[in-house]
């Protein structure tokens, strides 16, 4: 009897084994999470409330309360402008990118000649438009020269957004909407190059919709337009939230705000101010994320 009980102590149940292995598998991540994320996060919060001075004996950290935040918001020349600009840019670009990528993924899902080639071209920005390449591309003089040439050329100009804007204004569309849309046309390269991953996600989502739904709707006589709004759109609506969040996160990697924070920290060695800026930025993004999640998740259709 005692032998059996000893045995059962040694032999863990399946669930217990799983839990043990789970902890084992998670441990590398947990270790890194603590060292390279959580502790730095706490430190950064602490830095943001203090002034840091480097002297002979190393560093001295002095608690100064909200001084850094006040300095960032009221004294620093660039901070307010850059923060507002980057948030506004984000708010403008996110809906455009999401709508554009949904539209394109619907098109790329249809059968047509050269679909494989078109798909691989549209996913190319995932690879090329990130990090240092995108940053350098903006500063390319050759590109600017060519763009200038192009805009003076009559062919491009005739199809340009000016004509479009005039047409829409005449037909009585609201002016803000017109300028928003024409702005989108002018920034088409930026939008296309930022929506690679989003197209992938939507495309993957569309492909999980069961074909029976489409068949049934076709038999009932639905048009393509109706099937999109009644089937495709509701079915991929959870992914709209995913893509909105992804687009917001993706904009961290290259914008002026990031550059400003890094410059304050590593060129001017004002670690306290830099941390305070980073925290304000983080909070601002969190607010944007929460607000958009709140509004979108109310409208999402879940099958369950």
């Amino acid at each position: 009897m005692s032998k059996i009980s000893k045995f059962s102590v040694k032999q863990l149940s399946y669930t217990q084994q799983k839990a043990l292995w789970g902890m084992l598998y998670v441990s590398p991540w947990l270790f890194g999470f603590l060292f390279f994320f959580f502790i730095p996060l706490i430190y950064s919060l602490r830095y943001s409330f203090s002034s840091i001075k480097a002297n002979a004996s190393g560093m001295s950290i002095e608690f100064t309360g909200l001084a850094n935040y006040v300095e960032a918001l009221t004294v620093n020349l660039n901070f307010n402008r850059t923060l507002v600009e980057s948030i506004v840019n984000m708010v403008i670009n996110v809906p455009l990118i999401v709508i554009f990528s949904l539209f394109l993924s619907v098109i790329l899902n249809q059968k047509f000649f050269g679909r494989a080639a078109a798909r691989s071209i549209f996913f190319l920005p995932v690879i090329l438009a990130s990090g240092v390449i995108a940053n350098l591309e903006i500063s390319s003089l050759i590109q600017m020269l060519n763009e200038q040439n192009a805009s003076s050329g009559s062919f491009i100009n005739a199809l340009g957004s000016d004509e479009l804007a005039r047409m829409m204004l005449r037909s009585g569309v609201n002016e803000t909407i017109v300028s928003y849309l024409t702005g989108a046309v002018d920034r088409i390269h930026q939008i296309v190059s930022q929506s690679g991953v989003q197209i992938l996600i939507f495309l993957a989502g569309i492909q999980t919709i069961s074909p029976q739904l489409y068949e049934a709707s076709k038999i009932e006589g639905a048009t393509g337009y109706e099937t999109f709004w009644k089937i495709t759109f509701p079915m991929v609506s959870p992914l709209i939230l995913v893509n909105v969040i992804y687009t917001i996160i993706d904009s961290f990697s290259s914008n002026e705000m990031t550059a400003l924070i890094k410059e304050t920290g590593f060129t001017n060695f004002n670690f306290g101010l830099s941390s305070a800026m980073a925290w304000i930025y983080f909070l601002a993004i969190m607010i944007v994320l929460l607000v958009s999640t709140y509004f979108i998740s109310k409208r999402i259709f879940y099958q369950e």
Binding site: M23, W29, L41, Y47, R119, I133, L136, I142, T258, S274
Partner: protein, 315 residues
């Protein structure tokens, strides 16, 4: 009669839609490919063609001078090797550690694992700028909780070496690692539980179930993570410029290319210092930097496009 007319109308509609679709896709493909074509044509241009109004895409005088210039300034071959080593190592380590964590979060539930997964989401949401300074200072005086000073007597400076990358990727906290954990978790959740239970009944432990049953089934997710991780590491300038100051990898070389170029031109023939010429060499440099990625993409894209559809990123 009416039927036929209806049919032809539909037919027309279909043709029209095909046409619109073709124009749209061709146009947007052009928008995407334009910068690359542009760079290619700039790279093979001679300096004489730069101001020529006749030359738009195909140059009058072909020359490979820009390539030679960019290759010497960037120290291209060495840089290429370094970048391959760095990206390759971080990619493999990240994929392994993220797969382990993702599997644990998907299937090996323990007390508090949901809470920890919230931590993963947090790492995705917090901008890296917020935590970069403490990480930087931590790496400058790396002590591993006071463990290293106990042995050697002082802290180690890990900056300007590959250690920060190796450590963060080994512990699944490198660039965008939270996203990879998420991808793996979603994918493993999609594999039926019965498969796992059958393996257990046949006598496989958790470890061998993972390595011999789950991993071979997760090839799409693995390919996706490998590709993303490789490419983003290759292009990343944020962490690379922070951690590495003197080592030659592609992104640091690219960002310092304009500067190095102007120094070189100043040292040589001063009349050569023309902003457009500099931009020309810079474009060539960018082309050289993305060339390996593009070649890689050509080989894996088919697999990639197919696999992402089954990745379960959609969840």
């Amino acid at each position: 009669m009416i039927m036929r007319r209806l049919l032809s109308l539909e037919n027309w509609q279909r043709w029209l839609w095909s046409l619109v679709r073709f124009v749209l896709i061709a146009g947007l493909s052009f928008v995407i490919l334009y910068p690359i074509i542009q760079k290619l044509s700039t790279a093979i241009k001679d300096k004489a063609d730069l101001y020529s109004p006749i030359v738009v895409f195909i140059p009058q005088h072909f020359s490979l001078d820009n390539f030679k210039q960019a290759i010497t300034i960037m120290d291209y071959w060495k840089t290429l090797l370094n970048t391959f080593a760095l990206s390759g190592a971080t990619t493999v380590l990240t994929a392994i550690s993220c797969a382990l964590a993702g599997y644990a979060f998907a299937r090996l539930k323990f007390k508090g694992s949901k809470f920890l997964f919230a931590g993963v989401i947090l790492t995705i949401l917090v901008p890296p700028t917020t935590i970069i300074i403490p990480i930087y200072m931590n790496l400058k005086e790396f002590s591993l909780m006071g463990f290293i000073p106990l042995i050697t007597g002082k802290t180690v400076n890990l900056l300007d070496s590959y250690w920060p990358f190796i450590l963060t990727s080994l512990t699944a906290n490198s660039l965008k690692a939270g996203l990879y954990i998420f991808i793996f978790r979603q994918f493993f959740r999609g594999i039926p539980k019965e498969v796992e239970e059958a393996a257990y009944i046949d006598g496989a432990g958790i470890g061998s179930t993972f390595s011999r049953i789950m991993l071979p089934n997760a090839v799409p997710a693995i390919v996706t993570v490998l590709l993303f991780s490789f490419v983003w590491q290759w292009n990343d300038s944020f962490f690379t410029t922070t951690y590495l100051t003197s080592s030659k990898v592609m992104s640091t070389q690219l960002s310092s290319l304009p500067y190095n170029l102007s120094i070189m031109l100043e040292g040589g023939i001063t009349t050569n210092k023309d902003p457009f010429y500099m931009s020309m060499v810079q474009d060539t440099g960018i082309l050289l930097a993305i060339l390996p990625l593009t070649i890689l993409y050509l080989f894996v894209q088919r697999y990639f496009v197919e696999s992402i559809e089954r990745t379960g990123i959609v969840g």
